[in-house]
């Protein structure tokens, strides 16, 4: 998949190099953004919960105007997201302690070829474009551990499960409207809204591993493999973004 993306990027770079441009721009774009940090505990401190997550998909794009304010461009980006949560609970006499840990990471490799047209008025730049975003999702995993200590009979039980999702490709065709305001010399800041059809395809295998360990001895262990022969879905979708551009 990486070879395909690199080939596409190379083809676009060759087109850029051979084109006689009029005005070009480099943009930094935030395509998606989510964060959460939580730390809560009960007043008697018998239960505490911590959760953190940061998911940002930034991209950098180069756009070359070919003629009549129309042109082509391409964005590339990368996102690494990890959601971590820990819940601890115990009884008042400390005879029962439980710790639950959840970790869910994934990576996104992002590339987005673009055909665009620019319009300028007053201090504003208005860009209408047809964009073709492709997201390749890898290392999508869920890991769960529950560690229980029962001190009345000295038992320790560890429930563990790990699911490795198959690789996933998301691709779409969107009509994008981007309005930027000139904030300093050739620097523009703005927002974009895209409306289009997004398709999601999974291919490969899902692996699910489970085990139960009692006092250090593995009592149950199983692995299930699900083979995705066909799994694709699509929908009409919005796609917001924040854009910082430098025109030259």
């Amino acid at each position: 998949m990486k070879i395909r993306e690199l080939t596409l990027l190379l083809v676009l770079l060759v087109i850029f190099a051979s084109a006689q441009g009029q005005a070009n721009r480099i943009s930094l774009i935030i395509n998606s953004f989510n964060y959460q940090t939580e730390h809560a505990s009960s007043q008697d401190t018998l239960q505490t919960e911590k959760e953190t997550n940061l998911s940002v998909l930034p991209s950098i794009g180069y756009y070359r105007t070919l003629k009549s304010n129309t042109g082509i461009g391409c964005e590339i980006g990368f996102m690494h997201s990890t959601t971590k949560s820990t819940i601890t609970s115990k009884t008042l006499d400390n005879s029962y302690n439980e710790i639950q840990d959840r970790i869910s990471p994934y990576n996104i490799f992002y590339i987005c070829p673009t055909l665009f047209q620019n319009y300028y008025f007053s201090n504003f730049q208005f860009v209408t474009s047809l964009i073709f975003p492709i997201e390749y999702v890898t290392k999508h995993e869920f890991e769960f551990t529950r560690d229980i200590d029962i001190l009345t009979n000295g038992t320790n039980i560890i429930d563990y499960s790990k699911t490795i999702e198959p690789n996933n490709i998301k691709f779409g065709v969107y009509c994008n409207f981007n309005l930027n305001m000139n904030i300093y010399r050739k620097v523009y800041l703005g927002a974009q809204t895209a409306i289009g059809i997004d398709t999601d395809m999974r291919f490969g295998q899902r692996t699910n591993y489970k085990s139960v360990t009692e006092n250090g001895v593995v009592t149950t262990e199983e692995t299930a493999i699900t083979n995705f022969r066909r799994d694709s879905r699509g929908r009409l979708k919005f796609r917001p973004g924040i854009v910082l551009s430098y025109n030259f």
Partner: protein, 221 residues
């Protein structure tokens, strides 16, 4: 005047044998009132609003083999105040007007609650013999954001314009204070369980990139 969000539903359903019955209704209307003044080609303004949401669900169920009717109610009352300063440029052409600007909305939730009650009533004697009451009182919540707004308006009459705006920006939400969860269980009128848990939020901040659609009626003079 702006309509920042609207959601309503009103549903009443029952099974053919009338052993199941339920209704739910809610209206979530978020209008705001604003004033802006042109200063050196820039419009500086502010919107204010007060939001009160009521969400109520009522359902009851039974079966011919069961000696009781189970009834459940769920309500989610919310109250918030809203303040949104903004800065915009406005372009007018014939009957149309385009607004481009930045808006910084702040919403402070005075009350957000979840109340869930259920009880079982004997079919013959009509006595309530098992009652459960659950209440979750959320802490104070502050929601703040920065949006880039783009609006298009059509002239209706003289200085009166009607149109829509779309905002794209980042919204943040912070919880501060305690969440109080209470649970009470009663059997034949006698309390058997009465529990209160206080959850303290030492840190709870979340945010995301978001859309914000608005319908607006404006008068220029």
């Amino acid at each position: 005047m702006s309509l920042n969000s609207l959601l309503f539903f009103n549903q009443s359903v029952s099974s053919l044998d009338s052993t199941n019955f339920g209704n739910q209704k809610s209206i979530q209307l978020f209008p705001a009132f604003g004033y802006s003044k042109e200063l050196n080609r820039l419009w500086l303004g502010c919107e204010l609003a007060y939001k009160q949401v009521k969400y109520n669900v009522y359902s009851s169920s039974t079966a011919s083999v069961l000696p009781f009717v189970r009834t459940e109610t769920n309500s989610l009352p919310t109250t918030s105040i809203y303040f949104a300063p903004y800065l915009l440029r406005s372009f007018a052409s014939e009957n149309l007007r385009f607004n481009i600007g930045i808006e910084l909305p702040l919403e402070y939730f005075l009350k957000r609650e979840q109340i869930l009650n259920s009880w079982e009533t004997d079919k013959v004697s009509q006595n309530t013999y098992l009652e459960k009451k659950t209440q979750r009182l959320y802490p104070k919540i502050l929601n703040w954001a920065a949006y880039m707004q783009l609006g298009i308006y059509r002239k209706l009459y003289r200085g009166l314009y009607f149109g829509a705006e779309m905002g794209v920006g980042i919204t943040n939400e912070i919880y501060f204070g305690n969440r109080i969860d209470t649970y009470q269980e009663m059997e034949n009128g006698i309390t058997t369980i009465n529990r209160e848990t206080i959850i303290k939020y030492e840190r709870n901040i979340s945010g995301s990139l978001n859309f914000r659609p608005t319908l607006s009626l404006q008068y220029y003079w």
